[in-house]
């Protein structure tokens, strides 16, 4: 498949934001993204605007916020998707097409039961939660992330294991919790841990470098098959050097750290 033939569905509902950055990020790696409202996928739109999820190659959940983040972050987005296009979404994930969720998108993937998905691709009820940050407030700052994935995740194939990247983050609910006592072990066993927060120079992350109190400093996880990635920090906000916080003082490459996430998935689809 050629890069421009890769169709990306950037899904939105009322009150979604940051979808433009997600759209631009996929544009910058040569794909053909489209902003698609859930109603267009659910047949609740004029004929010319109707879309089928199965026509797309990648599904991206932006974030931001959605539906005011009332009830819980991502809960309304997830419940609406489940009710409107649940079976289509399950089929999309089962066929191992890539799905990316950033920030509110990650919260939505967890609420949908698509992550961590230890059993089956999509659980009936959520099996994890992104809970309120330990600090009790909205955290907004650059973070250092180490790629700890051993090769399972489709979105990090072009990032060396152990490489430290800088992605900014902005959220109030990012502490990954589960009721499963073997949660962290299972994530490790299945190679589902993708990004961990680290301190400057790769040191163990303490607050504020671990901004939310996530156990084991986990910032992003994938499903067991490796095609669904959810992460709190925003790779789409650092596609060029100029949105890195240190760009005036450092002689870095033109490319921002976030580009590698999008290039990775494109490489898999276009090879």
């Amino acid at each position: 498949m050629k890069a421009e033939d890769v169709k990306v569905c950037v899904i939105r509902i009322e009150g979604t934001n940051c979808e433009d950055e997600m759209y631009q990020a996929f544009r910058m790696v040569g794909a053909s993204p489209e902003l698609v409202h859930l109603k267009q996928l659910a047949g609740k739109a004029p004929d010319h605007a109707k879309r089928n999820l199965e026509d797309y190659d990648i599904l991206a959940f932006p974030g931001g916020f959605s539906a005011g983040d009332y009830v819980r972050a991502g809960a309304i987005f997830a419940a609406r998707i489940k009710s409107d296009i649940g079976p289509q979404l399950r089929k999309f994930v089962e066929s191992e097409k890539p799905v990316l969720g950033v920030c509110n998108g990650f919260q939505t993937l967890v609420e949908l039961g698509l992550l961590p998905a230890f059993e089956g691709v999509m659980s009936e009820t959520p099996t994890a939660a992104l809970s309120t940050n330990d600090s009790g407030r909205f955290e907004c700052r650059p973070t250092y992330l180490r790629n700890d994935n051993r090769g399972n995740c489709i979105f990090t194939s072009e990032i060396k294991k152990g490489k430290i990247s800088m992605f900014p983050l902005a959220h109030a609910e990012g502490k990954l919790l589960s009721a499963d006592p073997r949660f962290l072990e299972k994530l490790e066993e299945n190679d589902q841990v993708v990004f961990r927060y680290v301190g400057p120079g790769g040191a163990k992350a303490v607050y504020p470098w671990n901004p939310n109190g996530s156990p084991s400093d986990i910032a992003g996880i994938c499903n067991p098959a490796g095609n669904v990635l959810g992460m709190m920090p925003h790779p789409e906000r650092v596609m060029t050097r100029y949105t890195h916080q240190d760009w005036t003082s450092c002689k870095g490459p033109e490319e921002g750290d976030g580009m590698a996430v999008f290039r990775s998935v494109m490489k898999k689809l276009t090879k």
Partner: protein
């Protein structure tokens, strides 16, 4: 018509920063003897049906949308 009250609270052991920050603030404002402070969310829903049916519907609402069973528990009562 029935009115149900849906109470969503964090399960025991789940950190409640909103509650503990409120406790700290109350103490710093000079309130004495403040014990644990818990943040709880309450929805009041009017339903055009009998009470028993309304409570059942409320429980289904919690399952589908209002509560994440990993960190939250819920109680539904008729008012």
């Amino acid at each position: 018509m029935a009115i149900i009250e849906i109470r969503i609270e964090l399960k025991k052991g789940v950190a409640d920063p909103e509650g503990s920050n409120t406790k700290k603030t109350l103490e710093s404002l000079g309130f004495e003897g403040v014990g644990a402070v818990k943040c709880v969310k309450v929805f009041e829903v009017e339903l055009d049906m009998g009470v028993d049916e309304a409570v059942k519907a409320g429980e289904e609402m919690c399952r589908v949308l209002l509560a994440n069973p990993v960190i939250q528990s819920y109680t539904v009562t008729a008012r």
